[in-house]
Symmetry: C2
Subunit: 248 residues, 2 copies
Amino acid sequence: MGERRRTSPVEPVTISPLSCSIDEQRRRLGQAPFFRGLGDADLEEVLAVFAPRHYPDSAPIHHAGAEATRLSVIAAGMVKLARPTRDGQDVVLDILGPGESFGSLAELGDAAHRETATAHTQCCILSTTSGAFHRILTHYPAVALAALEIVAGRLRESHDTIEQVSAYPVEHRVAATLLKLADRAGTPEGAGILIEMPLSRQDLADMTGATVETVSRVMSEFRRAGLVESGRRWIAIRDRDGLAAIAG
Amino acid sequence: MGERRRTSPVEPVTISPLSCSIDEQRRRLGQAPFFRGLGDADLEEVLAVFAPRHYPDSAPIHHAGAEATRLSVIAAGMVKLARPTRDGQDVVLDILGPGESFGSLAELGDAAHRETATAHTQCCILSTTSGAFHRILTHYPAVALAALEIVAGRLRESHDTIEQVSAYPVEHRVAATLLKLADRAGTPEGAGILIEMPLSRQDLADMTGATVETVSRVMSEFRRAGLVESGRRWIAIRDRDGLAAIAG
DNA sequence: CGGGGGATTGACGTAGCTCAACCCGAGTGG
DNA sequence: CCACTCGGGTTGAGCTACGTCAATCCCCCG
């Protein structure tokens, strides 16, 4: 009665068999911001040191505290970067998609991972050792510059997050987070934008520094206002401008 | 009564005349992480494109929103990086010291400054245009690598901050912030560590995402517990371990 | 000595956390 | 194929950390 929530999830069940075939994945990686700017020959040489590996959904890739020995680039799927806190809660720093990298990049010169990386969907990861990566950096200045730009961009986003969490209420943060995700991984669907990844209230809470309950309340609020639609592990945006108004 | 607070501030009145002499400052900059790894000849060449400029205490260096045209390195003094929020409060992202850089580094590829930079003490800044800086990056790979390492380090610190602000109470954040500052700019003094920079409650509040009043209460608490001593615009740490216990 | 900007402290309001009950849709095994 | 279970989601009722507002204090300056 009154509110009808879409109950038949036209879900983003991205369960393609993800062959993780080396050649296929490598071809796609040539496009990654990381390797942009390399000639074909160089690209071939650089990619040669990367080894592919498949992770099933929710599999841990590495834990915080573990020795940081590899640099990884996502060929397919999504990876969640989180910091476990003393009291057992998680602070999600980012959810990365294809072409994005993690591992000993952000932790250059750091011996241990500060963050836990988990396969947020099943995914295929190309990775190499820190040593090999460092050799690439010194040997191919273009890669070093690309890396610099990538890290600088992330730093900017982190600053955004700090501002959000320090100065704005939960409602605002949730709206902003949804918009960010929609820009990154949204596809038009019906009269809205479907965020193409599994996204639970818990995820959203961990990304905004709030609790599941509060996020749930905020989302209900948004739904009643016709801003979003959501279900078990998915979220779609109905009224982008409305959300943007709340996000500021 | 009972509590005696040090009322005679053996202040860090770093009001050396800061001549900002080019040669003197340049000599010191050779040590900056940025230019480490450059040979003498190269260093000379690189430094040549930097122009020095002096800023009095509290002078604005650039405002958020302004076009990002320069990269700056601090020769002497301290610079406060802050984001002004919609509702007029400031979120302080960092306070930088000699040898550290700001400007179009974190904003590589970004046209406008996201942050306001202010002279937190009087200071001397060497700066160059983004164009010249970019030329340096491509021409001297060592600088690009150093920059990468610097930005990666900052990213890590930003992640620390996000964790703090998302998951821990104000008390905890203030303690952690004090420790961070002490490590960076602390000098042993009497039975404690004096933080060598002017540091108001407002600054601390803006760094921790809290209000002046709350920070003041927390600091009073700390003082009563014998952890810190503080006055008008300065702070000293009496019991490092005690603070560390609170910071976790 | 008087003024002013920072700091302190108190009283009060509230956003968001905690605890707890309940619901619902999707697997799963009988 | 149905019943059970179980993991997520929702909702409510308190509680508390922290923000807000306001008064007062205390250096430090002219």
